[in-house]
């Protein structure tokens, strides 16, 4: 399944930018905030960044027309509609915590308004590259878990007779059937 990239730029007032930066100091250590996001297993990655100044380089003349913004970069398995639906359903509080006072943000409770907001604020990605495009996030997580399980199996069957190998292999398959 091909991953879909999304880039969203949301203008925010200065005081909301300060709040977001302050909240990030704690949010990343609070499981109640991070766990539901991590459980959205179709996310390859999602990153948020505040753009305080355009451009960031202070030696370059400031782009005064460009507003202070919250940049959201993500890529995920499946369509953007599924992605937005999942966000609205699973993590509306977290989304409101980031976007509540972003300019024109309609709130994260209903799909249609937020879908329109994302349409209006997303910017097309000209080139996107993934090291393992054939693998979904779930496949990668399963493969890494399987690798660890197999690393534990290998020493126990090294030089084993046929019966021991067959028994251990069956146990391994039973334990890891959800990963294969």
């Amino acid at each position: 399944m091909r991953a879909t990239p999304l880039t969203i730029l949301s203008p925010i007032p200065w005081w909301w930018a300060c709040w977001i930066r302050f909240s990030w100091l704690f949010a990343r250590y609070i499981p109640m905030v991070t766990r539901p996001l991590r459980e959205l297993s179709f996310i390859h990655f999602a990153r948020w960044s505040i753009i305080w100044r355009w451009p960031a380089d202070r030696q370059t003349r400031r782009d005064r027309a460009a507003p202070r913004s919250l940049l959201f970069l993500t890529s995920f398995d499946g369509s953007d509609i599924q992605y937005i639906e999942a966000f609205v359903r699973v993590v509306p509080k977290q989304i409101n915590g980031l976007y509540l006072f972003a300019t024109d943000f309609p709130g994260a409770r209903r799909f249609e308004p937020i879908n329109r907001y994302i349409d209006d604020h997303s910017h097309p990605v000209d080139h996107f590259w993934l090291a393992h495009p054939e693998a979904s996030t779930t496949m990668v997580q399963q493969a890494l878990a399987l690798r660890d399980a197999f690393a534990k199996l290998e020493p126990s069957v090294d030089g084993a007779d046929a019966q021991t190998l067959a028994r251990e292999w069956q146990r391994f398959l039973t334990r890891t059937q959800g990963l294969l």
Binding site: A56, D126, F128
Partner: protein, 157 residues
């Protein structure tokens, strides 16, 4: 450990179409930048504030990569030079120190993030996916075999 790099660099005036054309002409550049998990390149223009005129165009380069940023930047700069050449004050890909200085001055830092597999390198992910395919095939091929036949075919290849 996967690290992120986000660059937002202003383009030289009127260079946005040329930058887009240069991006379109690239041939899988990140495949030749070791340790790149995923990456994106795009030309974007922030929406203007009211009564402040027009905004400039910017190049956004964002990547998740393994290893040290400076090494990744040096390799990426070589591959992306035709695109980065449209950015203001681009020093050229030859002087690595200048590239790193230029890029870090325009770098954005991510404040909050979610990463699918944060503890694995690109190489480890590739090996794990290959092992998973091998084990799946081996399990299918050896289903119902006697213990001796299973033993004869071990290890999974």
């Amino acid at each position: 450990m996967t690290a992120a790099f986000i660059l937002m660099a202003p383009l030289r005036g009127g260079e946005e179409d040329n930058a887009r054309a240069a991006i379109a002409a690239l041939n899988e550049p990140f495949a030749r930048v070791p340790g790149t998990h995923l990456a994106r390149l795009q030309v974007l223009r922030p929406p203007p504030r009211r009564f402040r005129g027009r905004t400039r165009y910017y190049l956004l380069l964002a990547a998740d990569h393994d290893g040290a940023l400076d090494e990744w930047l040096a390799a990426a700069a070589r591959e992306l030079d035709p695109v980065l050449a449209h950015c203001a004050f681009w020093p050229g890909a030859d002087d690595v120190d200048e590239v790193v200085r230029w890029a870090k001055a325009r770098q954005l830092h991510s404040g909050f993030w979610i990463v699918g597999a944060p503890d694995a390198t690109v190489e480890e992910v590739g090996e794990a996916l290959a092992l998973r395919a091998r084990l799946t095939r081996f399990a299918a091929e050896t289903a119902g075999l006697s213990d001796d036949d299973l033993h004869a075919r071990w290890p999974p290849r």
